[in-house]
Symmetry: C2
Subunit: 207 residues, 2 copies
């Protein structure tokens, strides 16, 4: 690591950034396992091999670290490949995306734990999670409307679209939790069955 600092002017920054990434990565695991309230900064720090004071120097406070973790969550969400898809293709990719999550248990634990914990209005991540769900549902609705505009499925009313995107979201969240509780769960098969049946219903008949 000291060698990197010798590679150029930006070397010192690079080690600092690297360290912060390590800390955020460890924080994902700890917050995922114990929740935000139950996760200790000292625990995170010692996993990376630094003192908790050094950690706080980077992020200012525990809540600052949480925000950094949430941003990393956003960043990795963009990386899952869904951004390039639209219309029905978006929904058809969901089983693969969900199956991919099983290779990163820590991140899925973070999703599930923080989302549930933040359902309380007093939680520091409450507004963030609300916003995230709101935009997520809007994105799904947009893809559904696009699929209808392209004639892939029938046209739907606003309230029906909301029901559909909320159900898809519920299935993804709920199946993720069941996989965490029992990793033998075949969430890929379940999500695939759900998506297939939903699209069939969107094509031909109402409800």
């Amino acid at each position: 690591m000291a060698a990197e600092t010798a590679t150029g002017r930006r070397g010192p920054y690079r080690t600092g950034i690297r360290r912060k990434e390590q800390i955020v990565s460890a924080a994902i695991d700890v917050f995922g396992e114990f929740g935000y309230a139950g996760g200790a900064i000292r625990n995170i720090a010692e996993r990376v091999g630094v003192s908790h004071a050094a950690l706080l120097q980077h992020f200012g406070s525990k809540e600052g670290l949480l925000m950094a973790v949430l941003q990393e969550w956003d960043r990795r969400t963009v990386e899952n490949g869904l951004a390039e898809l639209s219309g029905l293709d978006y929904f058809l990719a969901l089983p693969d995306v969900m199956a991919a999550h099983t290779t990163q248990r820590g991140l899925l634990e973070l999703f599930t734990t923080i989302a549930a914990e933040a359902s309380s209005p007093t939680h520091p991540a409450h507004e963030y999670v609300r916003q995230r769900y709101s935009t997520n549902l809007a994105t799904l609705a947009q893809h559904l409307q696009q699929a209808a505009a392209e004639g892939q499925i029938r046209a739907m009313g606003m309230s029906e679209i909301e029901t559909e995107v909320r159900l898809v979201t519920a299935v993804l969240d709920g199946m993720g939790l069941q996989w965490l509780l029992d990793p033998r769960t075949d969430i890929r098969a379940a999500v695939e069955a759900y998506v297939t049946r939903s699209i069939a219903a969107w094509r031909f008949h109402s409800v």
Copy 2:
């Protein structure tokens, strides 16, 4: 309350039981809002108006209180009226049951928060939650098989039944979370749409 103790020999017990019920009820709210790790015994105690030492005298430890809360969760689950239903009627009642949950936000918060928190194998309620999901899924599977035996729906293979009951569970859990995050969410409509479509799929065609 002192009057109750004068009503008979069992008076003293009655006040003790009453107190324990009050504590468990407060614990549901606190564990629901802050999680088990984040919820403080002192907070629970002062809501009931007793010292935290008195609380621990009743339940032995914080974990003992958690177990009492989980038992109460079981007890209230039995009371929701689903126990008397079987076959397809069981699934048809789910929208009403879910709508009823919105009148008891504390309990729904507890479900959601504890289940997510307990997905970590180190959580004291991990085995309990695993067991609960396991028996819950088995019950749903049983009702599905009975519906098939009575000719209400077509026969299904074992893996298809597992997929179906896991999806129903995921929808209930996921919609509950969305309602907690945004109470304007019409979970009744969503669950009803899901159940209706599922039963239609179970009747006529596979997948």
